[in-house]
Subunit: 286 residues, 4 copies
């Protein structure tokens, strides 16, 4: 028989998707390091509440400049993609942590993943935030089951975090990464513009310079991370990404590199999830 | 090493995209046929305002049940995709008309693309709406430069419009099409539920039955349209789409058919734009 | 400007590929069951000779009617694809066994994966061939690390082997599968045409009928296998594949299904490797 | 009814494909310029023999170093791909000309697309070969219906031909292009090694240097060609391709750029046909 009463089915399925729907939660912690409340979003895979003994791999998913912990869902619609990919098995069930490192960069809001005067964010991330969430949620919590990815400023953050803490992450996926930055003398002298301060911090943490200066021992550690660089052919940050990939080749560190069609926008990052989530999944330990 | 002041560039590019950004307009007309104001969205390609002599092909892009003319942008983010595809040449500059055939299907709001008692929507579409927009906007306005696509109820609408008016459209792309519907006696007798009435109208306009009954002359006309059927492997409407494709094969009418991974949701339709827009583009006349 | 002497590099790289090149071996065994020598091809992943303690998952990759154990490489160019996918991590290092179940179907050559009078191939495969290769090569040899895939007659073979031996395979990927066959009385009576005999055996092992008759216990066992059905939209076997997928849905057995563009040809199967190899990889046990 | 006699259908369809099968022809001409017979392959689309008044667009498809006019079919299997893409409408019916500019580069066999002492190939190509084939086959023969593509040495040839003859081609698609070459003094002095001579000719025709020296009028002419650069992330020629794309951006000449997964091998070029053929198709004039 070919015909069915699809209407009720329709209503149900529209709500339920494929039965692999995870859950998004907004949470927060009071940071001693930053002296402020920091919010974050958490994606919990389907079954998290039921399988109360099960621990999961974790992906830290970092937003870009001017954005917050809500961006990956509000603009990037990460949930509908990860639900689908877990459903088809292209992505393993994982917890995704979306921290906040910014907001609108007006004079009163800080931005950035690095330690800056008055904003020791990297210290907050590794000493306070990561231990907090890995305790609060059922996260396995070792290198083999921890990955980091991000877009633009968060792509730069992902790469630099893995360069400075290669013992902590199994893989890194940078989308349209802000991997270096030229700074003028004027920017250096400007101590009130948060934009200028963040730009200087990106320059001071140049992922490209890091590779140029790396000694053999450092390079060997970097080879324990699986790397993926992904940037649009019309992105204004493309050359930094190409330069980074060139340095990785010269250093003999395996690194996937893709240039897809696109600019520095949310369509690039939304579609990027179909690449990044399977990549970090298959590089999680068994 | 090549460094640049990317910050200003960043701000500019975030706003400008790739320089191929079109424009979305909400417009309306007072319908005599329906006795009501009907709204619609229009996508105008980049350059529309400047090249005041240029006429464009048109795509009618139909929404699904319970949705309105705003759905394809609000939920489906059609603009960011079509801007990108026109930019890379995968899609030709075209005008996209997104009509409204519904809204929340409460007792007081009608839905559907067919003529029903009290809601002669198909008549409205062909006698009033299409002539109106093709006059108001710089649309070429012949079969070779007119296409129709839609999702779910709008996918069914697209197919049926092309079956009944093959002389008007060069191509048809149906996403997760509601191409047939079983109806019970109860539904038949229910004259107050708009849901029941719409369901009966879908059954009465079954795209599958239409093919089964088509004579040779009709089949020959259908061969002047290029067809594309696209439905998710976990979609509750999949079998109707398979049955439709089978009948097309039996009738000897060329018809592309794809089953991609997915359910009846906006991620399927958002990604579907990367298939539908190039398809209708390459089937527009030269 | 960065220039380099690429010519020597070129010559070297053309030969070496990405450094992930595995090796193809042709081997054979004297079958007692079939009373004949049977050849097979083996793909051994890069490093197989060096890591002499390492055991690997195995994929049985079955050819189609009129073909032999050489088809997947000679026509399907499987080596260049699997080398690439292992290199990028989309596919795990595995051993691929390509058996021979046929040859040109003249009157003197048998074809087919099932037991037929005078050709007890299924018995040969499970009692003699599989134990032989899993002993001879360093294959892990349990359900969690064994998969089967094939094209056309081999797609049917894959599905039926998993239906009848679900305790042996973790996943099954059927390309353009010959999953059922109508047989006429004439074919039944023809005991000399190998074509007729094979066709009858396909009918007698109908993968679709198997599902229709399956009881709950059988269905439960089938759920321990991960299934993937992949068939071209212009393939003459498409309806059988659709029917199989429908029965899987009715039985509540998860089953991926894709209809891509294409016919019953080697381009479909060559590109299919980019889907099948990652699929069986991610369904191998940890 | 669900079942069918598929066997006969099978045999027929295996031979016929989707009914869009074109034809490959090997042809030759006696070159006065080169003083030798030159062979070439021609792809004629389905219907070429029947529609005797129809003229077609043309794609020149260039092979790489050490290869000949047979490489794109023998190693790249171009026919099965173009048949499929014409069948689905992703590629328009076109004639593809595959010239020969080489062979195994022993001391007695020349290679290369440029004029060298004793091997004035570029002059042969434009003065003798192109006029010959465009007269012999039903080729439209204007810029709007002529494109050029190639791999490696042929990718470099494609780009340089379009740089030096932008009035002749509507689009250019370079796969893994040999766009520049460092040369040592030793290579310069070596007048017997054909390898050294070809390498020097690539350096002397550097596509990157050409852009750096281009004046505004030249850049304006280059904007009348649609460009696409496509190179694998592990290809040894990647940096030349990145440098070329950078110069195109600086010159303000639109140029698509992609880095896909892969090395300098036939799988990259075979899959590249799915990008190049639609690209040149949509840039043919109407």
């Amino acid at each position: 028989m070919r015909k069915k009463l699809v209407l009720l089915a329709s209503v149900l399925l529209m709500g339920l998707g494929s039965g692999h729907a995870g859950r998004l939660v907004t949470d927060s912690l009071q940071s001693q390091v930053l002296g402020a409340v920091r919010h974050y979003n958490v994606y919990l895979p389907n079954g998290y509440e039921k399988e109360t003994d099960r621990q999961y791999p974790v992906l830290y998913l970092l937003h870009g400049l001017s954005d917050t912990h809500t961006g990956w869902e509000k603009n990037g619609r990460m949930k509908i993609v990860i639900d689908e990919l877990i459903g088809s098995g292209e992505c393993v069930p994982m917890i995704v942590i979306m921290p906040e490192a910014g907001g609108q960069p007006t004079s009163t809001v800080w931005n950035g993943y690095f330690n800056m005067e008055g904003w020791p964010y990297e210290r907050f991330f590794f000493e306070e935030f990561l231990p907090h969430v890995e305790k609060k949620y059922r996260i396995i919590g070792d290198k083999e089951h921890r990955a980091v990815s991000g877009l633009s400023m968060g792509g730069g953050g992902s790469v630099v975090y893995c360069q400075r803490h290669p013992e902590m992450f199994s893989s890194c996926y940078a989308l349209s990464g802000w991997l270096d930055q030229a700074v003028s003398d004027e920017m250096r002298k400007n101590t009130t513009s948060k934009h200028a301060i963040v730009s200087c911090s990106v320059h001071d943490h140049s992922a490209i310079e890091f590779l140029r200066k790396a000694d053999d021992a450092t390079k060997q550690k970097l080879r324990t991370v699986r790397w993926f660089i992904d940037c649009g052919d019309d992105d204004f940050l493309l050359e930094f990404n190409e330069d980074f990939h060139r340095e990785m080749r010269r250093a003999g560190i395996p690194c996937e590199f893709r240039v897809r069609n696109g600019v520095h926008n949310w369509e690039y990052w939304h579609t990027g999830l179909r690449w990044s989530l399977p990549f970090v999944s298959r590089n999680f330990g068994k």
